[in-house]
């Protein structure tokens, strides 16, 4: 059963990291804000979660605290962009820099171990190994159900009149302004939500890995971009409404990417080469997209 092991790891990581991808795709595609903050809000979420757990907070409280920290960072990015008229990318980079120091201050160390601490995966541990011995069925079921419920709630939220206004603010700020929609307010709230999701998933990641590290967020951006691109390539765009397409593509992309990476590492790819391979892979997918000329979606947004 050795071939199952990469699938197992890939699925778990894919289900956890689907949230950052979802957040990135949501902010990029629906809010029109390529949000780099997730590289900072991921470790911050993990740090806040770890410290909260060390201080014997309950699990839900710790996760919510992490999400609030992420929301603050997202809102900060939006405020920096709006208040100081800083470029969107630059605003994200500034907040990532802020968050690095913040993480070290919060954790008072570069990493915190969480082994022997309570985790939500303890509750589903009996299900693990039910099918095959290394296969963590319980963990996967739990993460999948969280993701499905969360994505459903998200899709419902962006189809309410509030969500429609949020998307108008992202899709065409001029039009939104003409309709009396306060674009800054919606941007701040939108980025707060996406970064809260990132920080929430960081809590799960810290829980699963058993530690929180200040360098956790490194490479999450290229991962999110790669996953989003793959997902948008695989999911049929014409059949789905755009918001649902973005959400589904992010989840599918994240799963496919993580499983591919897990198998690639299994087949002997050095972990050090992973980022280079990822970058080439993203470029290849984008090149494929350009050659086929069937995608108006990117053209519209680019």
């Amino acid at each position: 059963m050795t071939w199952v092991l990469p699938l197992d790891i890939g699925l778990v990581m894919g289900l956890i990291l689907a949230w950052p991808v979802l957040a990135f795709a949501g902010s990029f595609r629906l809010l029109g804000f390529p949000d780099l903050t997730l590289e900072g809000s991921l470790p911050t979420g993990a740090a806040v979660y770890a410290v909260a757990i060390l201080n014997n907070w309950s699990l839900p409280t710790a996760i919510i605290a992490a999400m609030i920290a992420g929301a603050c960072l997202g809102a900060l990015t939006a405020i920096i962009h709006l208040q100081f008229r800083v470029n969107k990318f630059l605003a994200g980079i500034i907040v990532v820099a802020i968050s690095y120091t913040l993480d070290l201050r919060i954790m008072e160390a570069s990493n915190i171990g969480l082994i022997q601490r309570p985790s939500v995966f303890d509750y589903v541990a009996p299900l693990n190994g039910l099918i095959a011995s290394p296969f963590q069925l319980g963990t996967i079921l739990l993460l999948a159900s969280v993701l499905i419920v969360g994505a459903a709630v998200l899709i419902m939220a962006i189809n309410t009149s509030w969500g429609i206004r949020l998307r108008v603010a992202g899709s065409n700020p001029n039009y939104a302004r003409a309709l009396g929609i306060s674009v800054p307010a919606y941007l701040i709230v939108g980025l707060a939500i996406t970064n809260a999701l990132v920080a929430g998933s960081a809590a799960f990641l810290a829980m699963y890995q058993g530690f929180s590290d200040v360098g956790m967020g490194q490479g999450i951006l290229i991962f999110a971009l790669a996953s989003m691109t793959i997902g948008e390539r695989l999911v049929p765009e014409q059949r789905l409404p755009i918001p649902i397409f973005v959400v589904v593509a992010a989840i599918v992309g994240s799963l496919v990417y993580e499983i591919l990476v897990a198998y690639a590492v299994r087949l002997g790819l050095a972990a050090t080469d992973l980022k280079l391979v990822t970058a080439f892979f993203v470029l290849a997918v984008i090149a494929m997209r350009i050659r086929k000329h069937d995608d108006e979606f990117l053209e519209v947004i680019r």
């Binding site: 429609i164 009396g180 306060s182």
Partner: protein
């Protein structure tokens, strides 16, 4: 929303807007004042850079004027809160991509713009039915679930106009909405604007090509280098016109109208007394002097000249009556030509005789053709 609809809805007072462009101060709108009545359809015309779009932006509250003020419904437009402003003025831009949210469906675009959508307990099917009736004339009724990005530019512009109708704002500002459209779409577009006009909305429209519009609009305001060049009230002409009319029909109508004007003026002049006509000659000559930038001088005429001028005068007002269809510059050219031929005729007739009158205007070169 305005509680009482005043007669004058948009009032522009001594408006000055200037920009700093590459270190140079450019005055885009220079001391402009005018009023727009409620329910009026005003066209703003002028060359590129005449300040039309800037004026429109200032009316829409998107620009801070350097001096002067814009009042909408008696309130300063810059003092209105964004939400309040959005229920007062709605702007459609030249670029169809600016007027709609491309990633949302047609339905969502209409839903978000519809002030009534959330207020009452409207079900989605009821809203869809309502929007379908609005989209029917522009042929988008069956594409409500498609994202706006798949529509063509013209379709998007038409959708923007439907949204403007839906907004229920008393004032609609249109910044060359027809610029990106083909002729067939232009016609549908004008129909949509006319529908808004019928719903007694105030329409202020920047237009380059006014051929199709001047038959419909109430008033034309010409701008040049940020100043008002001319006001043309086309309302009386339009009041006798039926509502829908093709361009060819309106051209015919225009010619018929001007011929009728000509005839009416000629007949009216026939019955005027000689004394009255001489007064008119004086007035015309004065105007002509101003037009030719000459010093007004006393009219010195003798019997036969005077009789000729009386007859000529019987034609001049007719020419002036055509001012609606013919450019003022052309009329001025005709006047000059008329004087020139008259002067030549007179000098031929009186050749060899001592000249009593230097010329009609008391100048040696009335038309300025010797310059």
């Amino acid at each position: 929303m305005m509680t009482i609809a005043p007669r004058v809805i948009v009032s522009v007072r001594d408006l000055v807007v200037s920009f700093s462009r590459w270190g140079q101060r450019v005055t885009a709108v220079d001391n402009v004042s005018f009023d727009v009545s409620s329910g009026e359809w005003l066209l703003l015309v002028g060359h590129n850079g005449a300040g039309k779009s800037t004026l429109l932006k200032a009316i829409g509250g998107q620009l801070q004027p350097d001096a002067g003020e814009v009042l909408i419904g008696g309130r300063h437009v810059r003092a209105l809160k964004p939400r309040h402003l959005a229920t007062t003025v709605f702007t459609i831009h030249q670029d169809p991509l600016l007027g709609t949210a491309p990633l949302l469906t047609v339905f969502e675009n209409l839903f978000v713009a519809d002030p009534k959508a959330r207020r009452s307990q409207n079900s989605k099917p009821a809203l869809m039915g309502r929007y379908a009736s609005l989209l029917e004339p522009i042929g988008l009724a069956d594409r409500m679930k498609q994202p706006v990005k798949v529509l063509s530019g013209g379709e998007r512009q038409l959708l923007a106009l439907v949204i403007a109708r839906l907004r229920e704002t008393p004032v609609i500002l249109l910044d060359e909405p027809l610029a990106a459209l083909d002729p067939s779409k232009t016609e549908v577009c004008i129909e949509e604007i006319a529908a808004m006009h019928r719903e007694s909305k105030t329409v202020i429209q920047v237009a380059h090509d006014i051929r199709a519009l001047q038959a419909r609009a109430d008033r034309i305001l010409a701008l040049r280098q940020g100043r008002i060049l001319a006001h043309a009230d086309v309302a009386p002409k339009n009041s006798i016109r039926p509502d829908s009319r093709s361009e060819a029909e309106s051209a015919h109508h225009c010619i018929r109208w001007s011929l009728a004007c000509l005839l009416a003026a000629f007949i009216a002049n026939l019955f005027k007394s000689r004394r009255r006509l001489e007064a008119e000659i004086l007035f015309l000559r004065h105007q002509l002097n101003i037009a030719l930038r000459r010093r007004p001088a006393r009219l010195r005429l003798r019997g036969s000249d005077r009789a000729l001028l009386v007859w000529m005068t019987r034609l001049w007002p007719s020419l002036l009556g055509m001012a609606r269809v013919i450019e003022p510059a052309t009329i001025l050219r005709w006047h000059r030509a008329g004087f020139r031929s008259y002067w030549r005729w007179k000098s031929r007739k009186r050749a060899g005789r001592p000249r009593i009158d230097r010329d009609l205007c008391g100048n040696s070169d009335p038309a300025g053709f010797a310059r």
